[in-house]
Amino acid sequence: MASSIQATDLDIYYGSFLAVHDVTMTIKPQTVTALIGPSGCGKSTFLRAMNRMHEVIPGARVEGKLELDGTDLYGPGIDPVTVRRQIGMVFQRPNPFPTMSIYENVAAGLRLNSTRIAKGDMDVLVERSLRAANLWEEVKDRLGKPGAGMSGGQQQRLCIARAIAVRPDVLLMDEPCSALDPISTLAIEDLINELKNEYTIVIVTHNMQQAARVSDVTGFFNIEGTGKPGKLVEMDETKRMFSQPREKATEDYVSGRFG
């Protein structure tokens, strides 16, 4: 189920602009990895490169290697559609499909790629995903209502349910709590803790307390100046990163001296 990710000398470009330079990183299965760093340091770009979502922007490309359980995700003949099925994603702002009901939102991914699933099986899968996202009890009586009518935190958990319904190997989260209030944030963080039993999770966050709370491993990205590429400065166990980082820049950042 959960998979490992290995990035080796990964450069990410937007056209001729080098956005992220020379990232080498190992992400172990069934762990939560937090990526922290100041705005514009390339952590989100790196996250989006992991499931080839950055290709949505014309001109985006990578150099170097990015492997999921040893398979090069950018190898010849690899379809980004397949990559994204294996590596799910939750975005900064909750984005349930507004024209669909709660049920349909969760089922959306399962119905893709001409997969036919019987109604009964679908009900089971939808319930299981909603339960896994700690949302079932709140929505079981209004599965037919539009997903956009819920609170922000519920919408975000709906998006998580939608992402895990297709049973990915890895779940990427791009600042999933930045648009949420503290209570909803707590709910998502609890959820992340439960989900790591089944999935490998990579989360980008601006909130260092959040990184300290939810992650096993933390990677710190930094940028030397505007127009310069972002780099992975240091990556280590979260405890160590927040108590005795090796790099001065990391210490300055986690202690709130800049960024």
Partner: protein, 322 residues
């Protein structure tokens, strides 16, 4: 004097919001423009009703228009209404799917440079006067359709639509509908394209991140979001098709009967084309009769638009506007 000195103390003045002159002027101008639309619409409706009234209450034999045949106004207007609805509906059926495809191609498939050029081209098509489309239909499209309609008559003649006899000159309902379809294609395309381009990136990314192919992404995010836009565009197109005069007048060979036969010379006219043809030679009650048909067209257009509103609003909860 007394009110102004007491102003700060009275609750009514205290709760009244301060309004700057600029605000007041703009609010007045906007309200005036809104009222003007209503006045114009009411004026048109009143004109139609007043002018149509004599024809509506006249005894059947008093209606001297030859084709009315002394059978009354309903008998006169029915074939025209039928022709109008048939040609416009056919045009819509042809144009809407095509327009959605073109709009999708421009918004989501074509490379950026190509899509821009194509967008301009479609807008340009909208600027072509309808008489040009009429001439093109008559001179180019009509002769082209003669062999295919013969084939349709021979092979699919058992379907009432293609019962024939196939026209030898091609001035058929089919050609009229196709010309109308080409005419309304740009407006439907333009509206649909604009809406498709506004699909939130957030929802497109949501679909792609689930492992959707581009076409699945379009189905999940773009088309549902653009649904009301497609309907609005189609209704704008339908409005134009219902009221189109010159192209139909030039292309369609008219002999009055109500028929679904699309490929023969004997077609019902449309309300607008009939007015254009008959009006210059009409006097007295004939004029009132023609205006009454105009009133029918006005009502039909209004109903079509109301229906479209209803369809759009019915699923407002799911529209994503919230």
């Amino acid at each position: 004097m007394n009110t102004s000195t007491a102003a700060p103390k009275t609750t009514t003045s205290a709760t009244r919001p301060i309004r700057r002159p600029g605000d007041r002027i703009f609010a007045g101008a906007a309200a005036g423009a809104g009222v003007l639309i209503l006045v114009i619409l009411a004026g048109v409706a009143v004109f139609l009703l007043v002018q149509a009234y004599p024809a509506l209450v006249a005894a059947p034999e008093e209606l001297p228009t030859p084709s009315a045949g002394g059978e009354g106004f309903v008998a006169y207007v029915w074939p025209l209404l039928f022709g109008t609805l048939l040609s416009a509906t056919l045009a819509l059926l042809v144009a809407t799917p095509l327009a959605v495809c073109v709009a999708l191609f421009i918004s989501h498939y074509a490379p950026r440079k190509l899509s821009q050029g194509l967008g301009y081209l479609v807008d340009l098509l909208a600027a072509v006067p309808s008489i040009i489309f009429g001439l093109w239909g008559l001179a180019v499209l009509a002769p082209l359709t003669v062999p295919p309609t013969r084939w349709l008559e021979d092979n699919l003649g058992f379907i009432p639509l293609f019962a024939g006899p196939a026209s030898a000159i091609g001035r058929t309902m089919l050609v009229a509908a196709l010309v109308l379809a080409v005419m309304i294609l740009p407006i439907v395309t333009a509206v649909a394209r604009e809406v498709f381009l506004q699909t939130p990136l957030l929802h497109q990314e949501a679909a792609l991140a689930l492992g959707a192919t581009r076409w699945e992404m379009v189905q999940l995010a773009v088309l549902p979001f653009g649904r009301s836009g497609i309907i609005s565009g189609a209704m704008l197109g339908l409005g134009r098709a219902l009221g189109e005069t010159m192209a139909i007048t030039i292309v369609l060979s008219v002999s009055g009967g109500v028929t679904f036969n699309l490929i023969s010379d004997g077609n019902p006219a449309t309300i607008a084309a009939n007015i254009a043809l008959e009006f210059p030679e009409s006097t007295g009650l004939d004029v009132n009769t023609l205006i009454a048909t105009g009133l029918v067209l006005f009502a039909v257009t209004l109903i079509v638009n109301l229906l479209a509103r209803y369809v759009i609003n019915r699923r407002r909860d799911f529209s994503g506007a919230n």
